[in-house]
């Protein structure tokens, strides 16, 4: 129980850390994409400006020196380029290149210049931004620019961004993991304290580190709450103890007086009955005090191992004569099993269970005690063939002073099963009442020693 909670806690903060890291990376990627788009648009616009100016210059030559002058200029530029990235071509009306080389072009019929982008096949596919300017006689001038340096720049930017992203991701994951670990460690100490206090160690408090951060304040408030709970519980327990104790003293006095009276007077059945009633009351108060004390004790962890099988056999022996009187067979179905705990309390637990079973079992029937150890658990089962307990009442009968209508006539304090449960809980076990059809099956699981 206490082992599972911190794991869940860890995964909660780990999930949180993961979510933070992922959203951080997403934001970074979005920003990167935006910058990339803006820069590449800017670079394209720059390239177009260069091409536009170049094309305007060539158009001037065409206007001034005519078609031949233009061809001579283009040939000259292609033979000894000022700019190695400049691309020129003159294309006839059928799309064939007269000067330079051009990609297969859909023949431009429109009179307005337009922009195209293509990959330059001769040079490993460099992107070329080009302007097509119709020259009026069906021929088209292509002025372009290889975007080698722009592409290089963009690629480098992308690479840098990717590396930065990877570093950021690693850093984010690391910081996230550390934060998660820190948070879970802070919470874990609080969680563990809460679990142990819940299990009965009421005096335990969460550790304060004096940093006065949110966790420290939470721990502080948590401790204040525990102080208050302990105060209240202590008050209630004190009151119960005092009531039981204070009533027990005059009751004992009463019993002693009745005893003295009995010694002096002739035997009177009323007197015997009164003494028996007083004894019954004293037994109830005694049981109540014992119950209160066991419930207030911290759970047993480092107690010595107790041979539960030996205890069961001693209880069976203790009850053998009582059972035999009603011809009830006590069946010993025990295997070796040990638990850590208080032998006297475990014996009391067994006594209460066997006492109930023998009390409610019909004559000539069988009461079985089974004990086995498997895995980390020791399982104890007491089964009788009596009237059993209706399903609706099985949880209720474990509470103080609850007695079923059918049991009203039989002796008992109504605290026997409450005491059993208190002892089981103190030994960090579980108790379950089941139907043995017919009869009652009490199943108890305790941690194995």
């Amino acid at each position: 129980m206490s082992g599972r909670a911190p794991v869940r806690l860890m995964s909660t903060s780990a999930r949180l850390a993961l979510a933070v890291t992922v959203s951080f990376l997403l934001a970074f990627a979005l920003l990167g994409a935006g910058v990339y788009y803006a820069v590449s648009t800017l670079l394209t616009a720059d390239a177009r400006e260069v091409v536009r100016a170049d094309a305007a210059g060539l158009a001037d030559i065409h206007r001034g020196a005519g078609r031949a002058g233009l061809i001579a200029e283009l040939r000259g530029r292609l033979a000894a380029p000022d700019d190695p990235d400049a691309v020129y071509a003159l294309v006839d009306r059928d799309g064939r290149a007269i000067v330079g080389s051009a990609p297969p072009l859909s023949v431009p019929r429109s009179a307005a210049p337009r922009w195209i982008v293509f990959r330059d096949g001769t040079d490993g596919g460099t992107r070329v931004i080009a302007r097509l300017s119709p020259l009026g006689d069906g021929e088209t001038l292509l002025t372009g620019l290889r975007t080698r340096s722009q592409d290089g720049f963009l690629a480098m930017m992308l690479r840098t961004a990717l590396i930065a992203l990877l570093v950021a991701a690693a850093l984010g994951a690391l910081i996230g993991w550390l934060t998660a670990r820190w948070v879970s460690r802070r919470l874990q100490s609080l969680d563990l304290t809460a679990a142990r206090v819940g299990a009965g160690e009421l005096a335990l408090r969460a550790r304060l580190d004096g940093s006065d951060d949110a966790f420290d304040r939470l721990a502080h408030r948590f401790n204040a709450m525990l102080d208050r709970i302990e105060d209240l519980l202590g008050g209630v327990r004190h009151a119960t103890d005092h009531i039981a104790h204070d009533l027990r003293t005059p009751l004992t006095r009463l019993r002693n007086r009745l005893d003295q009276l009995r010694e002096r007077e002739a035997p009177a059945p009323e007197l015997d009955a009164a003494i028996a009633e007083t004894d019954q009351l004293l037994q109830s108060f005694g049981a109540l005090l014992r119950l209160a004390r066991i419930e207030a004790q911290p759970p047993l962890r480092d107690a010595p191992a107790v041979d539960l099988q030996a205890l069961v056999r001693d209880v069976l022996e203790l009850y053998a004569p009582s059972a035999a009187e009603r011809r009830i067979a006590l069946r010993d179905a025990t295997g070796p099993a040990s638990v850590r705990g208080d032998a006297d309390q475990l014996f009391q637990l067994l006594v209460n269970l066997v006492d109930n079973a023998v009390k409610f079992a019909p004559a000539d029937s069988e009461v079985e005690l089974a004990l086995s150890a498997s895995g980390a658990e020791v399982r104890l089962e007491v089964r009788d063939r009596g009237p059993g307990i209706p399903a609706a009442d099985r949880e209720r009968v474990l509470d103080r002073f609850v007695r079923l209508e059918t049991q009203r006539s039989s002796p008992g304090t109504g605290l026997g099963l409450s005491l059993v449960r208190a002892i089981v809980l103190r030994h960090e076990g579980r108790i379950e009442l089941l139907d043995a059809a017919p009869g009652l099956r009490v199943c108890i699981a305790l941690p194995r020693a």
Binding site: T249, L251, R253, R255, N256, D259, I275, Y319, G412, G416
Partner: protein
């Protein structure tokens, strides 16, 4: 017997003193620890009934002081709390027995008798116990009455041995539980009585004079 009672609560002290006097004991009463220690060290007593919580000097300190000085008077410690730890602590401090308040007078009386006997008869461990014609051989672990062997279960043997060691005295159910069963627990019903009646069947059946008597309101007694 001469008994010292150290108890500060006048009511409890009154009822114990009255009972002890009625039983034929001589009782000295001290209502605080200092007076109690003074009396215990200056007067010879057969037994001390000592309350744990006392003004001026508490019962445990008184007892340790007494035992430290070599005084071995059988002492019955009274306490309001019944925890096992407290009982162990009391016995370790030198108490011979321990009784939780509130108690029935019969319980106190029976335990005091047992203590006083333990004080005197501890010198030579006998090999054979005898109550009238009932015999218990401690070496062979066998019992017989009027020469006829009695078959006993191990627990019945322990029960009979305890009763015979306390022969003629009242033994309460709680004393039997503590001495014969090694657990401190609250018997829910009359389990002890059933064990006794089984034992009674074995030792008294077929004999004219019963040996194992029920003492109403207190417990059992073996022999007269």
């Amino acid at each position: 017997m001469r008994i010292l009672l150290v108890e500060d609560d006048p009511h409890t002290a009154g009822f114990i003193a009255k009972g002890l006097k009625e039983d034929g004991h001589a009782v000295d009463h001290a209502d605080n620890g200092k007076d109690g220690l003074f009396l215990a060290t200056t007067e010879p007593y057969d037994a001390i009934v000592l309350d744990r919580m006392l003004p001026q000097l508490d019962g445990m300190t008184l007892l340790k002081t007494l035992r430290g000085a070599g005084n071995r008077v059988p002492t019955l410690l009274l306490t309001a709390l019944g925890d096992v730890e407290q009982r162990v602590e009391g016995l370790r401090a030198g108490a011979d027995d321990y009784l939780v308040k509130p108690f029935a007078y019969a319980e106190l009386s029976a335990r005091l008798d047992g203590l006083a006997r333990r004080g005197t008869a501890a010198s030579a461990e006998p090999t054979r116990l005898r109550v009238e014609d009932l015999e218990l051989d401690l070496l062979k672990r066998s019992a017989s009455r009027d020469g006829k062997a009695i078959e006993l279960q191990p627990r019945e043997y322990r029960l009979l041995e305890y009763l015979m060691r306390q022969a003629g005295r009242v033994v309460t159910r709680t004393m039997l539980l503590e001495a014969v069963w090694d657990y401190h627990f609250d018997p829910q019903t009359n389990v002890i009585d059933v064990h006794i009646s089984r034992l009674r069947q074995k030792i008294d059946h077929g004999f004219a004079a019963p040996l194992l008597h029920t003492v109403r309101g207190a417990g059992y007694r073996l022999g007269s």
